[in-house]
Structures are given as C-alpha cells and as structure tokens.
C-alpha cells in the first residue's frame, strides 16, 4: 500500500440542514430572518466575506420556511471541522440576535410530522493526482463500497427516534418517512448512444433525448436507471446519468451520500465524514487490487432493519445467519482503520467503538402528566368531560382569573409541551433530552389547567361530537316541531 495515498487528492463537501427554533425549542419560520441578518452583515462588512467564501459555498433556503441549508466548498478533509464550527458558531450568533436558536437534529420531536426533515449530505471525491476529476471507475467503486456498508452506516448514524411527541418505533424516522431518499442500485458503467431524459425532468432540458456529440458512445455511471438525483447514495457529475448534472464541469464528479441523519455535534459530523472517507479509500484500494465489490443479497432487508432498530438490529449474513449490527459496525471500522491511519485521522467520538451518538447522548425522555388523556388525544378524542378533583383558576380570554370549584367540566383538551435540550455549541440545540406534556382544557369561558389527579368521565372525537349534535336535533324533530 506504499505510496497509495500520496497519489490521491480527497475532497469533501457537506450540506447540513438546520431548523430555526424559538427560545422554547419550537420551530418558527425564521429562515428568511436569518438570511436577512447575514445579508446585513455582508453589506455592513461585519463579517469577512473573503474568509467565509473560501470555506462556504452558500447558505440557502429550503422548501420549509424554518429550514436553512449550509453548503461548504469542496474542502480538504482537514478543514471540515474548522469550517463547520465556523459556520455553526456564526449561525448561532446571528440567531441569538433575534432571540432565536438553531436546531441541529434531523427530526423535530414535536413539530416534524414527519416533515420538515433535516439531513446531512456528504460528498466525497477521490481524484488521482495527475487528473482533474474523479474517474468513472472510482465513482462506481466508491458508490458500491458505501452501498455495501449501507446498513452498518445507517445503524451507526440513525438518531431520529421521536416524531410528533412520541417514539416512532424507528431508529431513523427520517429514513423511514422520507419520500425522496430512494435506495440506489448497484452502480455500473453503461455504454449508450444517447441520454434519455425522463418525462418529469424534460422541463429542465426541454429534450426527450440528448445524443452524444463526436463520440459514437458515451460511458455513463448509472446507479439509477432514469437518472434521478435524489437517492440515498448518488454518483454525481457529468460522467453520470443524473439529468441535473448534464452540463456540470468534471471537477464536480463525486459521490453524494444522503442517508446520514443529522449528527447533533460537529465532532460526530467530522467522524462520520472520516468513516466515509475511509470507505472511499478502501474502495479505491479494492479497485487497485482488481477485486470486485459483491452485492449482498440481504442488503435491502438489512437496510430496513437498520432503519427500524439502529445499532440494536440483527443483520442477515450471506449464508442466512443473523449477526448483530454492532458487530458488523465494529468490523466495518476495523476494515477502514488502515486507511484512516494512512490519512493520519483518528476517530474522536464514541463512533470509534461502534457506539452511535443516540446511545451516547440518550433518547429524549417523554413524560405525560395524564396518561389517560394522552391516550385519548392520540385516538383523536379531543373533547373531554373531566371531573376536577380540586378547585382552581379559570383563566378567561381577557386574562382574568376566576375561581372554579371542583366540578365536572366539558371542553377541548390540548397539550402544553415543555422541551429540554443539550447544547454543545452556543445557541445551537444539539439534541432534545426531555419532553414533558401537561394539559389545558378550553371551554367557552376560558382555560382550565388539568391536573394529574383529575378524572376523565368521557371522551369523544370531533365527528362523534358532531353526531351528538345532529342526534339531539333528530330527537327534537321527532318530539316537537322546531319553531
């Protein structure tokens, strides 16, 4: 392996999606506001744009008004940590000026249902020193090698177990519900006379076919037959059949990895990047040694298992046995360790011993003040008749407090959430640690706080309540005329 690494240039690009939240931890549509602040800083020269643009390609809007995406330039891997810390510190500071915060996780534990969803896209490019771009064969090998470790990588990085205020039952809720992250196929180099533009992409290029120019054939790296960009792993650039990349320059040739749940901290993000680099180098080494990357029969099944159970999943081996995901992850780390050593990189976080971030930092704890009400609300029974166990205040809509004796009340019950979190960077919520749910009842006269010892007499859904009103009219019609 002597001299192997010296002949390669490795570049890494990161797209990190973030959410704007208020000081209570709830999503607010403030991406516009943050962008305006940044523009103000640039116009008023409060930041050194020269320094920033060396590292950052852009900060952009996403479809959701609370979502921001930070995109780095293609970076030397040694600069990833510095760059991500620089931009996240800056964003945290900008948000604090507007009394806002940034949430760095993938799925908001309350308001993502399942959207908005954040992800981290990591692009890896490995280029031979004498060339300008990542060759086709490199693209194929890196893609297929990352894909080979897909279940292990998902098991190691899945960290979105809570959605809509409860455990979703999936280690990566994001991957389970994502509509766009379709699984890629085993990449191959395909020879073709023309690029066929899929119908839904024809608006982009306005053609049904694009023929090769001077060459008789063109060799395209194909990981998806129709050239769809949004896959969990995608070879990108002009050598691929991705329609959006048709006119891009050869330097944009890379493998983009999208399945990674947002690591909460920069340290974990850097380690995930390093692991992916190790896998990329292993792929190039396999190519050098002319070894094939074999497609696993149970890859899809293991992928689903990793999404469901994360590091606690059991994977199916080639001979049909089961093996723990943890063991597979440790094997993967052992496999790539020589390559990381060549780069002089050491994993800094718990990932080095196969412990995912979610296990280290812990899942958010969910506690409800009134389990029965919680269950009723989940069933859609939001109109409750409750026997109050003690007297309390009725807060009117104008803010007055009237005293209310212990009695039975009817109304619409809604939750009040208290969120607690951990921050490893200033003004950035790394992960939510606790969700506490208490309840309020809305009546026609005001609000009543529901206590844990209050007794629910009956619960009804909105349609049930509507049926009751119609039933009373029906009885009225049978008994007497409405005048």
């Amino acid at each position: 392996m002597e001299g192997f690494i010296e002949n390669l240039k490795i570049r890494v690009g990161i797209e990190n999606e973030l959410l704007t939240v208020n000081n209570k931890g709830f999503i607010v549509p403030a991406a516009d506001l943050i962008i305006k602040e940044i523009i103000d800083d640039i116009v008023n020269k409060r930041i050194d744009i020269g320094v920033l643009k060396r590292f950052i390609y852009g900060i952009q809007w996403e479809p959701h008004p609370a979502q921001l995406e930070v995109v780095t330039q293609p970076l030397n891997f040694l600069l990833v940590e510095k760059t991500m810390k620089l931009i996240r510190t800056y964003l945290g500071e900008v948000a604090s000026r507007r009394k806002l915060m940034i949430y760095a996780g993938s799925v908001h534990p309350i308001q993502s249902n399942p959207f908005p969803i954040n992800g981290t896209h990591i692009s890896i490019s490995v280029v031979p020193k004498r060339r300008k771009s990542m060759p086709r064969k490199f693209l194929v090998y890196v893609h297929n090698n990352v894909r080979r470790y897909l279940p292990e990588l998902i098991a190691l990085t899945a960290n979105s177990p809570v959605m809509s205020g409860e455990y979703s039952g999936y280690a990566s809720t994001r991957l389970h519900y994502s509509r766009v992250l379709r699984p890629s196929r085993y990449a191959i180099i395909r020879r073709s006379k023309a690029t066929i533009i899929p119908r839904e992409k024809r608006a982009i290029l306005k053609y049904a076919f694009i023929f090769t120019r001077d060459k008789r054939y063109e060799h395209k790296v194909v990981a998806d037959r129709v050239g769809i960009r949004l896959l969990d792993i995608t070879p990108r650039g002009p050598y691929t059949n991705i329609i959006e990349d048709y006119g891009s320059g050869p330097e944009s040739s890379r493998v983009e990895i999208r399945f990674i749940d947002n690591p909460s901290t920069v340290d974990y993000l850097v380690d995930v990047t390093h692991i992916l680099m190790g896998i990329a180098l292993e792929a190039i080494d396999l190519l050098r040694r002319k070894q094939k990357i074999v497609e696993s029969k149970s890859l899809e099944e293991n992928r689903l298992r990793a999404i469901k159970d994360g590091i606690n999943a059991d994977f199916i081996t080639e001979n049909g046995d089961t093996v723990s995901a943890r063991k597979c992850v440790l094997e993967m780390i052992e496999n790539i360790r020589p390559y990381l050593d060549m780069l002089g990189v050491k994993l800094q976080t718990s990932l080095r011993s196969g412990v995912p971030e979610i296990e280290k930092l812990g899942k958010p704890k969910i506690s409800s003040e009134h389990e029965i009400i919680h269950r009723y609300l989940r069933q859609g029974k939001v109109f409750l008749r409750v026997k109050l166990n003690s007297s309390r205040a009725l807060i009117t809509f104008s803010g007055n407090r009237d005293s209310l004796k212990a009695k039975t009340v009817f109304g619409f019950v809604f939750p009040q959430y208290k969120l607690e979190w951990t921050s490893f960077e200033k003004n950035i919520i790394s992960t939510f640690t606790r969700i506490h749910i208490s309840y309020w009842m809305l009546t026609n006269h005001g609000y009543i706080r529901i206590h844990p010892d209050d007794i629910v007499i009956s619960a009804i859904t909105p349609i049930g309540a509507l049926t009751k009103i119609f039933s009373s009219v029906y009885k009225g019609l049978l008994e007497r005329n409405f005048s």
Binding site: N113, G399, F412, Y417, T461, I469, S472, F482
Partner: protein, 329 residues
Amino acid sequence: MPRQDNRHSFPLNWRLLRHILALYRDINLALQEINTNATSNSNAASIFKKIINRLKAINTLGDNVSWYFFLHIQLSLYLSGNSIIRNSRQLKRFLVSVRNALEKMIVSKGTIRLLRRKDVFVNLRNPTVSIFVPEGFEDLIPGYRYIPGTLPVILTAPHASPPQSDINTGKLALVIAKRTSAYALISNLPRFIADPNRVLGRVWPFRRILEQLIAKRKIKLIIDLHTSSSTREHLVEIGTWYGFSIPKKYLDMLMQIFDSNDVTYGTNSRFVGGDITFYHSNIPLVSTVQLEISGEATRRDLRRIIRALVKFIKKFSGVKSYGGLHRKS
C-alpha cells in the same frame, strides 16, 4: 408504540370524499326541508337520520378523518354542544356553518392532496401536535389589545408584534377603528411565540375572543390586515379564500372603493387568506377578507388605503339587509 403505517390507505381517501359529497347533499336537502316550513318534521327527521348514519360511517374511517373535520368546523359549535340549537333559526345557522365547512373540504387544496397521495394519512397532522401551546402559556394570556367598537366590523392585526412583524398593520387597525368606531384586535405576541393566523393559533385568546364576538352576533365582517415583505405588483392583495369568505357584492363594493381611491389591488393571486379568513367565514352572515398590503407602500399609499377602508366599513355597516342566510360564493 410504533406508529401505524397507513401507506396503503389510498382507497380510503376516495371513500372519505364520497362521504363528504353525500353529506353536503344531505345537509342541503335538510336546509331546503326546513326552509319550506313543512308542517310535518318527518321528512326532515329522515334526512337527519341519514346524516347521523353518514357521520357514524365517516367516524369509522380513522382518527385522522375526524381530525380533518375538526380543522374545518367551528370550535365553538363543538364546545356549545346541544345547547346551540333551540329553534329553527339556530338550526339553520348550524347547518349553514357545517355546509360552508364541507364546501371548503371539497374544494380545498388539502383535499386534492389527500386524493393524490397514497400516504396522506401519515402526513395529516394529529391532535397532539396540531394544536398545542408552549410551556408558560398562562403567562402569555391575553396577548392582544382589544379596541371595542359599535359597527359590526373588526380589524385584526395578528402579526403586529415584532420580530418579523407586518409593519404598520397595528397602527392601521387602530387608526381605522378610531375613525369608524369599528372593533380592532391587535396581537401583542410575536408570531414566533403564537401565530393567531394558523391552525395552531385557534386556541389562543386572540382567536377565542374573535370567535366570541362573532357568536354574540357583534361582528359581520372581519378585515384581516397583513403586510408582505417583498415587492408586489399591487398595493393591496385581497384574499377571499377563492371567493368563499365574502359575498361577491361586498367584494365588488371593496374593489369599487379601492378603484375610486387609486388603490391598486389583485385578488387571490398568492395570498388567498390565512386561517382567520378560512375559519371564521364558515359562520353564516360573517364575511372575512384578508388584505396583504405591499411592504413598499409609502405614507401617501397608506393614507389612501385608510381612506378607502374607512369608506368601505361605513358603507358596509350602512347596509341594513344582509340578504338572509345567503351562500358566500
């Protein structure tokens, strides 16, 4: 508990729409029956029986369907329960409210999405996360400034408080209310804490007080004031929720007054109306209109808008007959 995966519930959406259309038909029939003042109630009773059975069938379609109804029908109707209907007038009001809600269910974008997507019920919000409040809710009550009036018109400024406020909307509401004796409701809470113009805002005091005023029959018209942050083609964008929130004659009256005061306007271009426009216009005889004023409006422009709105409110309030229980569209 693992979340139920409803990805294969496609036919359910169509069944829901079929039920909604049938319900809409039955409620119209019930209204016709009541309007004919028939001596016997047996026909009406049989229609109501059908409606009840239909609702029971809808209730079996799932929790999310129930929640879909909740989003369209007035909260105060549910909260009042049986006590809201004591005579045929109240019954008509109730039926028209439900019919208006059903109309919106049929035409709304949400329904179209419902029908297109296979996994729609995964995406539909559930009660525990659709309407909730943050900790410290009681300290944020009331969170609005209320200006009582005498005319049946209220000016609302739900985004009057910074940051990212709709600039001038609070002042506009105050000035116009002062000049016309209309009611005004101005939010004191930033939209980042509570946005009264969203479904999430329906339980906040701003919306409850508005619904109470409507229930007391004090309000016939809601003018919801907003400012767009970017440049717009027109000075004012009028949002009427695709024509469902205000009768055409009042919209024509507003446009005529805007024309005569040199206020350029567009209708339902992008700002069709938020939740205030959508939700409160279900009540019969209550009209709502959202005005999205261009962020680049000068003082002179604002003066013209004030003049036009003062004229409109006075003219609207001077109209003695509202034409009975008309349909909005």
